[in-house]
Point group: C2
């Protein structure tokens, strides 16, 4: 019998398993589980007819470029579409800044590969998207959490953390932020805070990694497109690496995202990606290109905003009705998540065990905290379940809280 | 102006650009270039009708699983199909050993991520697939070349290299081999050599990374399926990590490959892939699953064997007619490549410059040598061009050789 431990890399010995994926695997084993765990987009909103027409047209063309090996940077007409798409959103970019990635998750890993040495520090929000934390952790980075308030990441906290790290001889490389409807907290970073963060990055000589999967999914009752203007829009100096994706605004199954970075970094990312996977799936890219070019994504956006806003309202009303006195949250102004806080005597891991017995799941708050905190929190995704399932799931969550309280 | 060099990781400062991709980019700039460079499959053999039917059926089903987020390990029914597919090929595996990768290139990177620390050594053939070399190099591995003869990698060479490395305090981690119609040399490793390599790996406590993109593309005039039985088929101890792909036997644009490794390693690879890209494209996987399940891949295989065998014959005849006295090669018994050797006074880089002027390209031999050698070689791909273009390309190559000889 071979002892494979001896054969594993130092990084592999300490890889961090995805809490979200782990919870997802669990969901498959519990009958009739209502999942508030995975941040899946609503499949009923997938534009099936349009995708089928586009797919058919591409395959009927017999254009070998639809199924052949392709360029590492991505399908050039897709990049042109994205330049126009971001331009419409107020972000001026050029094609030489783009790399098409296999979803924005790959952008996180690629940024890490190009920017991080083992031991370097990445500054992240408290809480932060656990998939990003895992990507940087798996590259042996040191993760440092910065508090955020309702306007976003604390600049004072950032200054203090950087000073502390430098005094300790650790090199902070970049700040990772999700300014629009952050995963998991739902926080919308204010525009003044975005500018302050950019100023701080320049002052501290840090790069900013801006992850923006939810930007176009603002809720029109409490937010507007102007509120979501990316940090990248203010970036005259080339300090921001911006990640976008089609996963939440079209479908996730295609795995098409984009990374927009200064050309000198994009060139390194291209070389990295050559050896990592040659290129992202070209059939996927061609479909996404056509969906953008034919206006499918633009037509869908207001429908998605209304769809997710309605689900958010259903979840808020259900929580208020069933658990109003036992949970607190800040109303999400966009995105997929409602970030709840329980009373201090509740531990997220204990509640989770009780919740699964009640056939409802969520992601434990502590999965998003790099400092060991977050045990009074849970991330509830309202994006995928129907209104009725959201209501039923909240009832079950209430039963789970009851049963925790009743436990000896 | 930001100096991004200061922001790059140590690895990124020394990333190795793909010689093949670089030559491919060049091809786009030269009008009417005949490319013997890229190992592209022949687009005229793509089963367009079948893929269109399958794609239509999947999208018409409105099954959300076709376009939704999916499991990191891959679509389970695809894995089941692959278990059967490999079993038919004489390799007994179980589903828990599989990870579906974004092409086999991702398998190379994943293997490196899980097995290599910076400075560790990877043993590769002389010559070896440059994309694999780049993947390991970019993870800061030390690449050590082992001579091969017409039966494959030299076991004596392997023993000597491992002894040398260990004496120098360097840890050799695995041997990377492509036993079936190696890229670039076309060598088919003999079955006795495969067993000897497995024995040597056990004796030296190395793992084997077996890359098998061309196994089913043997040429029936000089080889048979039995000759291509993977090393993995003999692996009772769990020493072999096997990489397969659909890129050469269906289409490359889907980016679907598979990595078969001992469960303890597969489990680490799964966790790595969670943070690297969540999962490979599920629409692609669903199409590939259906193509395997409906027998499309099996029906296509003999047609592909005949197609590429005919092209190999055309290239050999053309080379013999035009350049018979100036190049040498061993007849490929499968795969996409003809590996030619020129007279010692020819340098591959000089010839390449003259070739591009004659509107023909190839990959320089030295791109495949980790020891600085290979300058009398070139890799000629016969897979993509038509018979006429192969003939014309060889004439142009002849003109390039003439012009090198005439140069002052």
């Amino acid at each position: 019998m071979i002892d494979y431990t001896r054969h594993l890399s130092a990084a592999a010995l300490h890889f961090q398993e995805s809490a979200i994926r782990k919870t997802g695997a669990l969901a498959a084993t519990v009958p009739d589980l209502i999942s508030f765990a995975a941040g899946y987009p609503s499949a009923e909103m997938f534009p099936w007819d349009e995708i089928q027409d586009i797919s058919n047209g591409l395959l009927a063309s017999r254009d070998s470029g639809v199924l052949q090996y392709a360029a590492t940077r991505g399908y050039p007409p897709l990049v042109e579409q994205l330049v126009g798409h971001l331009n419409t959103g107020g972000v001026a970019t050029t094609p030489d800044q783009y790399i098409i990635t296999t979803g924005s998750q790959q952008g996180l890993d690629l940024a890490g590969r190009v920017l991080l040495n083992p031991g370097d520090a990445v500054l992240v929000e408290l809480p932060a998207y656990s998939g990003a934390v895992a990507a940087f952790h798996n590259l042996q980075a040191t993760l440092v959490g910065i508090e955020q308030d309702t306007d976003g990441l604390s600049i004072e906290g950032l200054d203090a953390a950087v000073a502390r790290l430098r005094a300790a001889g650790v090199r902070p490389r970049f700040v990772y932020v999700t300014p629009n409807f952050q995963n998991p907290s739902g926080v919308l970073m204010s525009q003044p805070r975005r500018r302050a963060l950019l100023d701080a990055a320049a002052r501290l000589d840090l790069l900013i990694l801006e992850d923006d999967p939810y930007g176009s999914l603002f809720f029109e009752d409490v937010a507007s497109a102007e509120d979501t203007l990316p940090i990248k829009a203010h970036d005259t100096e080339g300090r921001v690496i911006y990640l976008g994706t089609i996963s939440k605004t079209l479908v996730p199954g295609f795995r098409v995202g984009w990374m927009v970075s200064p050309p000198a970094i994009a060139q390194r990312v291209e070389i990295a990606k050559q050896a990592i996977d040659l290129h992202s799936g070209i059939f996927d890219q061609r479909i996404v290109h056509a969906a953008l070019a034919q206006g499918v994504v633009a037509r869908l956006a207001p429908q998605l905003r209304a769809h997710y806003m309605a689900k958010r309202t259903v979840m808020e009303e259900s929580l208020f009705d069933r658990l109003g006195d036992r949970v607190r949250w800040t109303q999400p102004r966009g995105g997929f998540f409602l970030w709840v806080e329980f009373a201090p005597d509740i531990d997220d891991r204990v509640l989770f065990e009780h919740a699964v017995k009640q056939r409802v799941s969520f992601v434990i708050g502590s999965a998003f905290y790099v400092n060991g905190g977050g045990h009074q929190h849970a991330r509830l995704s309202f994006s995928a379940p129907s209104h009725d399932r959201i209501r039923e799931g909240v009832l079950r969550l209430g039963s789970a809280l009851d049963s925790v309280a009743d436990a000896p």
